[in-house]
């Protein structure tokens, strides 16, 4: 089966695996507690729009993103909303 390209935030990834790797590398360069840079936030804004529950995750609007600790000593992205609430989301679910 030929690879299916995916478009996230205007960027075209030749195959799903490339997109997963891109966000995995992005996640890895942050420490827990870090706020994600403006550049990376552009990609994450595109990413979260693809989440199966995008509307709930985005809520009343995105303020910024952070990286926080998750179970088993892993990290994950969190979306911080304008109203001050936060929620984690999995980049894998979005891709």
């Amino acid at each position: 089966m030929p690879a299916i390209p995916v478009t996230i935030g205007g960027k075209i990834f030749e195959k799903k695996g490339d997109a997963l790797e891109f966000f995995q590398v992005m996640l890895a360069k942050y420490y827990p507690g870090d706020t994600v840079s403006d550049d990376d936030s552009v990609w994450l804004t595109g990413l979260i729009a693809r989440h199966p529950e995008a509307a709930e995750k985005i809520g009343n609007g995105i303020r910024n993103f952070s990286v926080r600790r998750a179970d088993y000593n892993t990290k994950c992205f969190w979306v911080n909303r304008v109203d001050g609430t936060s929620e984690k989301f999995s980049y894998k679910s979005c891709v």
Binding site: K29, Y31, P32, G33, D34, T35, R69, N73, N80
Partner: protein
């Protein structure tokens, strides 16, 4: 007088030896309960007191401890055995010969001798005793009054009042050292000789004790402030000299305090209490550093060291500036009779224990002690023997660790004779424990029966109340750990001990054991103290037997590490090569390396250091070479290294390297305010970076999240009870099993050791390096000076109101419980006082424990009298 020496020896060894043995036995038996003693009244009546008392009077003039001890035995026996009123009076006169006025007062207060002793004496004896009384008193400068003192106290007072040099004083525990030092200090302030003093004590518990002691001596008109918070308000900094202050700090706090100002040359007097602790792992180096730092700021600083029964108090004076007078006051004379008693089970009879006094090389049979139950385990032995022998109260049991202390206290509390009390103070303490720690924390229930335990990480308000009620006699049995020996001034009537260990597993050395044993006998409250050593022949318990008396040898930690210079050189070499594995870190070597490096960075060579004259020049040369190599790789300025004693500048440089190579958003390097959602995650990251670059301080690595969580909760101003409750819910929500006592102790340990000790040390250093980096790259806009992390972490505060409550002098436990009821988070001290005045009548309704209300009232009273 040399010529009298043979007479003294003859009296002790031959002349009155047998009688003294018997007096010793009969006197000791008076203080022990449930003992079948092998002598009868007629033997007591047959003592030839006239002969004995004459011998005692002669021996009281000797300068040797052995002779003086016999004189003290005779005086004590004459009073305690109550043969006749003449004998008791004569015993009191002998106490007077021994400059022991307090024991005479005790005999009077116990009704053993009637008051006005001196009027009953014949004319010539009266003149003689009155003369001695004048001899054994000192003149208090500010009041012109005389204060009755013992020989040690007198010698100390004369030496300390003499000039501005350095002084080191050493005397056994019950010699009234602290009392006299405080008395002298207050006198110096009143007479106007001193306007700014620092009193260093090694533990927070001792700090509260010293504060209380000073508070009770000072009066309204003195205008002297007592402070234990290492911060200065802006106003204070502006008129540094306007207010006379006694700062009471630990060695860590004095550094935080000094960091808050540029240079402080205003301290005139430094008192170092428990000065032998300059030999402690790591903290001893920080103490030495503090002394040197204060002395650099003021070369004319007067320094007074105080230590209990040490061998070599003079060693502390080695670093005094050239030309500065040095004096040693060294006393080894007992003020209270101490009986070392061996307790061995009678063969085939586990409930019967034979007691023997060990006196130098001789053994005196005391009789048989009857226990309530058969002691099947070590814990039961300690519990049952203590319960049997110490019914009169003031009984201290030494346990090897906190868990064992809890278990022994629980066993003692079940002895049928130990009933539940209706005493208000005990019930109030129990209530405080339930509200301040946990409803099922075992201390709450044993305290109701007048039994308690005591260990290091317990909240200080509870610990102090335990100590107070033990002193007053309401708590009759107290099971303690080595914390008590490490710096609480608590003495007792009887100590029960078996195979004492220091820290984890090391048998106590003789000087440590005697530092503990020295607490038996409360001068002025009792005539004698007993040290009961259980199973003396058991080599598991006592690998080298029950130690013979030894005084504590002082060795600076920095010296003992530098003495093994191969190890130190090797450690520095590994640092130079870099990339050390976690298991290659050693906290003793690390602290001393940090100390040396900081010295080198400041002066460019160790040859200028205060300790240089004591070291071999060749050895310093080698160290200089290695430190030079390291220092060339260090951009972190020496002022930053100096601000964080114990933290290695080379580690700080590695952290700086990380900051410099960091290409992300710089704001991510700053800790988030505790209220912020990302505070916890950032703290985890900061702690991991500290572990990785500076020193593996938060270990094991897998527990960093737990460390961070407790630190955040602590900073948020959560009470200990709340932190414990949340950990329990966490365990339960995740279906994890837990043991309540372990969880409670574990949480106390995290709060004390991580949040209040390691986190302030390392996070404050992290912040300083970060600040330096921001300044270097022109990003001073990122520096927020809102919070002093060192202070915030040690005290567990992140709001102005909570800080103000602590500044008023309240314990953290009280402050937090009050703060839970205060809405405003920006109150100054005045605002807090107003809030308290307005709401004081509602405290009961708020569920505020009584002991906290009492503390609040006390603090407000002292505020109003000192302002």
């Amino acid at each position: 007088m040399v010529s009298e020496q043979p007479l003294y020896d003859w009296l002790v060894d031959v002349g009155v030896a047998d009688e003294v043995r018997f007096v010793r036995k009969a006197t000791a038996a008076v203080g022990l309960s449930n003992l079948d003693c092998k002598f009868d009244e007629s033997e007591v009546n047959a003592i030839e007191w006239a002969r004995l008392l004459l011998a005692g009077s002669i021996l009281s003039r000797s300068e040797s401890r052995r002779h003086k001890e016999v004189a003290l035995t005779i005086a004590t026996g004459a009073v305690v055995l109550r043969s006749s009123s003449e004998v008791s009076d004569a015993g009191a006169v002998l106490f007077n010969d021994l400059a022991n006025e307090r024991s005479i007062e005790l005999a009077i207060s116990k009704g053993i001798i009637p008051p006005d002793l001196y009027s009953r004496l014949g004319t010539s004896l009266r003149i003689e005793t009155e003369r001695r009384k004048v001899d054994s008193s000192v003149l208090v400068q500010s009041s012109g009054r005389h204060l009755a003192v013992n020989e040690f106290q007198k010698e100390f007072w004369l030496a300390v009042s003499n000039d501005n040099g350095w002084l080191s004083a050493s005397a056994p525990t019950a010699s009234g050292k602290t009392f006299l030092v405080l008395q002298w200090l207050v006198d110096q302030f009143r007479a106007g000789y001193v306007s700014n003093a620092v009193y260093l004590a090694p533990t927070r518990a001792l700090i509260s004790e010293i504060e209380d002691g000073l508070q009770s001596l000072l009066i309204e008109g003195d205008g002297v402030r007592i402070n234990s918070m290492p911060i200065r308000s802006g106003q204070e900094q502006a008129n540094k000299y306007a207010r006379r202050t006694i700062n009471v700090f630990t060695q860590e706090r004095i550094h935080i305090f000094l960091n808050s100002i540029e240079k402080d040359d205003s301290v005139d007097v430094l008192i170092v209490d428990e000065a032998h602790k300059i030999g402690d792992d790591s903290r001893g180096v920080i103490l030495q550093d503090a002394i040197e730092r204060l002395n650099r700021s003021n070369p004319n600083l007067k320094v007074v060291f105080v230590s209990p029964a040490t061998q070599n108090p003079g060693i502390l004076l080695e670093d005094a500036p050239d030309g500065s007078p040095k004096r040693t006051v060294d006393s080894d004379f007992p003020t209270v009779l101490q009986n070392l008693i061996l307790a061995q089970q009678v063969p085939r009879k586990p409930r019967e224990w034979a007691l023997q006094i060990r006196d130098a090389e001789q053994y005196i049979d005391l009789g048989v002690l009857h226990l309530n139950n058969k002691p099947g385990s070590v814990k039961k032995k300690l519990a049952f023997i203590a319960a049997a022998v110490g019914e009169a109260g003031g009984t201290l049991v030494y346990a090897n660790g906190a868990a064992e202390a809890e278990a022994i206290a629980l066993l003692i509390s079940q002895i049928p004779k130990i009933e539940k009390s209706e005493d208000e103070e005990l019930l109030a303490l129990s209530d405080l424990v339930r509200k301040g720690v946990h409803t099922r924390y075992q201390l709450a229930s044993v305290v109701e029966r007048g039994v308690a335990f005591h260990y290091g990480n317990m909240p200080s308000l509870i610990r102090r109340e335990v100590e107070r009620l033990f002193r007053s006699g309401k708590i009759r049995y107290l099971v303690c750990t080595s914390t008590l020996v490490e710096g609480v001034n608590l003495s007792c009537r009887t100590i029960v001990v078996r195979g004492p260990r220091k820290g984890r597993g090391h048998p106590m050395e003789a000087h440590d054991f005697w530092n503990l044993a020295g607490r038996a006998g409360r001068w002025g409250s009792e005539f004698q103290g007993n040290i009961i050593c259980v199973d003396p022949a058991d080599t598991d318990a006592w690998p080298s037997g029950v130690p013979v008396r030894a005084r504590y040898p002082i060795t600076r930690e920095s010296d003992s590490v530098m003495n093994s210079h191969h190890k130190l050189n090797e450690y520095l070499d590994r640092m130079i090569v870099g990339d050390r594995a976690d298991n290659e870190f050693d906290h003793q070597l690390e602290t001393v390396s940090a100390f040396l490096l900081s010295n080198f960075l400041r002066a460019g060579s160790l040859k200028e250091a205060a300790f240089a004259s004591r070291r071999n020049p060749a050895e310093l040369e080698i160290l200089d070479e290695k430190l030079r190599y390291l220092s060339e790789r260090i951009e972190v300025p020496s002022e930053v290294a100096l601000r964080h004693p114990g933290v290695n500048a080379f580690g700080l440089q590695r952290l700086l390297d990380h900051f410099q190579n960091y290409d992300g958003n710089l704001e991510n390097l700053i800790p988030a305010p505790v209220e912020s959602f990302d505070a916890y995650d950032r703290f985890v990251t900061i702690m991991e970076k500290i572990n990785r670059y500076v020193y593996p301080a938060f270990m094991p690595e897998g527990l960093v999240p737990l460390h961070a969580l407790v630190v955040i909760e602590w900073l948020k101003g959560y009470s200990l009870a709340n932190i414990i409750k949340r950990r329990i819910s966490y365990q339960e929500d995740n279906n994890r099993t837990y043991k309540l006592p372990n969880l409670i102790r574990g949480t106390m340990d995290l709060v004390e050791q991580t949040a209040r000790f390691r986190a302030p040390r390392y996070v404050a250093a992290y912040m300083d390096v970060l600040k330096f980096h921001f300044l270097n790259i022109g990003r001073s806009d990122l520096i927020e000076d809102e919070l002093d992390w060192g202070v915030a972490l040690e005290f567990g505060v992140s709001t102005k109101t909570l800080l103000s409550l602590l500044e008023l002098g309240l314990s953290r436990m009280s402050s937090v419980i009050l703060y839970e009821n205060i809405a405003e988070d920006g109150y100054s001290q005045q605002g807090c006082i107003e809030w308290i005045s307005e709401h004081r009548s509602q405290f009961d309704g708020m569920g505020i424990p009584k002991i906290i209300s009492i503390e609040v009232d006390k603090v407000l009273r002292s505020r109003s009298s000192n302002t």
